[in-house]
């Protein structure tokens, strides 16, 4: 049994304890921002099935007067997603609770919450990395086989979504009478690694968020807009281990991916008081469980633009 004791988490009574470090840096998570949420009823099953139909062939059929056309079979496509349980637990000794200042448990709960959301985000991005169609950046000049992000490459990614009749993910942001601002077209979301900020800023028609006509809809990690893509950046975006690392920048339209939970109990922070499992009330347990999984709903509406970093 691994317990957090005063050997590792001791008192600061000999110091004036400032709480500055309790503002932990946090990843920017997207697993529940751009996806559709699905929920399984409790006491049912762990697997959700989603069914769609392929489009009918729309070539014009001229009916003859004396016969019916050949019936076309409805083609289905089903996706099954099994929700899995993710979790983490930590144990605090009674001594820690007695000796260390009051907020230890509260901060640990907050820490667990952060770990949970990041964990679920990594699951989502794992799914993205596994089966989203990839388009390579090739128009750059950094000398790598996959080049840095360029407007031409981005255009090809947008063309991919346009050709598949993808709906934009965000509505137009109207212009305002504020000096130095402008409207933003209805856009797809672009999720890029934070190391590519300079490359994104170098794209044609880049507009930083501060110049949007309205700020209400701006996300915390949003960097700006280029033509039809609003970019958010995060440290969690997949990076390859190549000598020139390849970044999996993902452009997302509406209805592209989803995540599945179980009603009511999808995520829980669970705290067991001292004595939950020992005779002398010496240990307190804290942890979380999360019933979760993600899946690409339609790869027509999401595409990864593989790039390296500008020289």
């Amino acid at each position: 049994m691994t317990v957090t004791t005063t050997a590792t988490y001791g008192s600061m009574s000999n110091l004036w304890a400032h709480r500055a470090l309790l503002q932990r840096p946090q990843h920017f998570n997207v697993h529940n921002l751009f996806g559709k949420k699905f929920s399984l009823p409790t006491k049912s099953t762990r697997t959700i099935g989603m069914r769609g139909q392929e489009n009918f062939n729309s070539d014009p059929v001229v009916l003859s007067e004396d016969s019916d056309p050949t019936p076309e079979v409805v083609n289905k496509r089903d996706i099954n997603v099994t929700v899995q349980e993710f979790g983490k637990v930590t144990l605090l000794s009674r001594t820690v609770l007695l000796v260390v200042e009051d907020d230890t448990a509260n901060e640990t709960a907050d820490n667990l919450s952060q770990a949970m959301h990041t964990m679920l985000d990594k699951v989502t991005r794992g799914v993205w990395a596994s089966s989203i169609p990839q388009i390579s950046c090739l128009s750059g000049s950094n000398g790598n086989a996959i080049t840095e992000l360029t407007s031409k490459d981005l255009d090809r990614a947008i063309s991919y979504l346009d050709e598949n009749n993808t709906e934009k993910a965000t509505p137009t942001i109207e212009g305002s009478s504020k000096f130095g601002t402008g409207p933003i077209s209805a856009s797809y979301w672009g999720v890029a690694n934070i190391k590519l900020k300079r490359d994104i800023k170098a794209l044609d028609s880049y507009m930083p968020t501060k110049e949007y006509g309205a700020q209400e809809a701006v996300l915390q990690a949003e960097l700006g807009n280029t033509d039809e893509v609003r970019w958010v950046t995060s440290t969690l975006v997949n990076v390859s281990t190549d000598t020139a690392p390849q970044y999996s920048n993902t452009i997302i339209g509406a209805n592209a991916y989803g995540y599945v939970t179980i009603d009511e109990v999808s995520t829980e922070i669970i705290m067991k008081p001292l004595g939950f499992n020992d005779y002398l009330n010496r240990f307190q347990a804290m942890g979380f469980t999360a019933w979760f999984n993600a899946e690409i709903l339609d790869d027509s509406h999401i595409v990864t633009l593989l790039s390296t970093k500008a020289a």
């Binding site: 062939n57 289905k76 996706i79 899995q84 169609p133 090809r156 991919y160 999984n293 899946e295």
Partner: protein, 248 residues
């Protein structure tokens, strides 16, 4: 991955009979040290290896640190040596989701259109998306007509598959398409897509799941010796490893 067990001292044991061939063992934690005891060789003849040890920080792949019997008579003596081949190879998996991409190296102008993608790993009736072809690339890559499209596939070999229309199920005739030049990607649409009924018997349509991390050690014949040898394994995870630095 090892941070799951940070600060925990753990051990576990196994017993088995060797098949005389390489085997990959799966442990319940990220081990720091594994000891293989060959009980059959314990009082064996000279040249056998009763004890072989693996350390996590062992830097040379496929090596094994072994204790060799050099005199099996009473008062047996032993020697320590390093088996340079067929020893241990760490084989932990990182978990997550297996990727479903294949790199295209050829597309035929034929009926049906056949795509070459070495070790694609796809199954017949799965749906793939073709990207990174066409004339919009800085250097034209050909096969404009199939770029960005999705197709139901028929697997021909481990390295090739043919394309069918997703709706009509008719084979794609690429005879008149722009000639293939180079590169291209094929992406499995999803890991779990169930095609129109009835799916062929060979089609495996498991629901998507996120794979857990697995702690594995591939063990070669330098350790597992002869078929029928009786083994015990001790697996250890140190609670703490303190680097005391160099005393030089």
């Amino acid at each position: 991955m090892s941070d799951l067990f940070n600060g925990r001292s753990m051990s576990e044991g196994y017993k088995f009979i060797s098949g005389g061939a390489e085997h990959t063992f799966t442990f319940n934690f990220d081990a720091d040290k594994v000891i293989f005891y060959n009980l059959t060789d314990w009082t064996g003849t000279a040249g056998t290896f009763p004890i072989t040890t693996w350390f996590k920080d062992q830097t040379t792949a496929a090596h094994a640190y072994q204790q060799a019997v050099i005199d099996s008579s009473a008062g047996a003596s032993f020697n320590f040596l390093d088996a340079a081949t067929n020893g241990f190879t760490p084989a932990n998996t990182t978990g997550g989701v297996a990727t479903s991409y294949a790199t295209i190296t050829g597309v035929s102008a034929a009926d049906p259109c056949v795509v070459t993608a070495v070790a694609h790993g796809f199954q017949s009736n799965q749906v793939v998306r073709i990207t990174d072809l066409g004339s919009d690339m800085p250097t034209a890559r050909g096969m404009n007509q199939i770029n960005n499209n999705r197709y139901r596939i028929t697997v021909l070999t481990a390295d090739t598959f043919s394309l069918k229309d997703v709706t009509s199920d008719e084979a794609i005739n690429s005879t008149a398409y722009t000639a293939y030049v180079s590169n291209g990607r094929a992406t499995l649409e999803t890991h779990v897509l169930l095609p129109n009924n009835p799916p062929p018997a060979s089609y495996t349509a498991n629901a998507f799941e996120y794979d857990a991390v697995e702690y594995k050690l591939k063990v070669g014949t330098a350790v597992l010796a002869t078929s029928g040898d009786v083994f015990r394994i001790e697996v250890y995870k140190y609670g703490q490893m303190t680097d005391l630095g160099s005393f030089v």
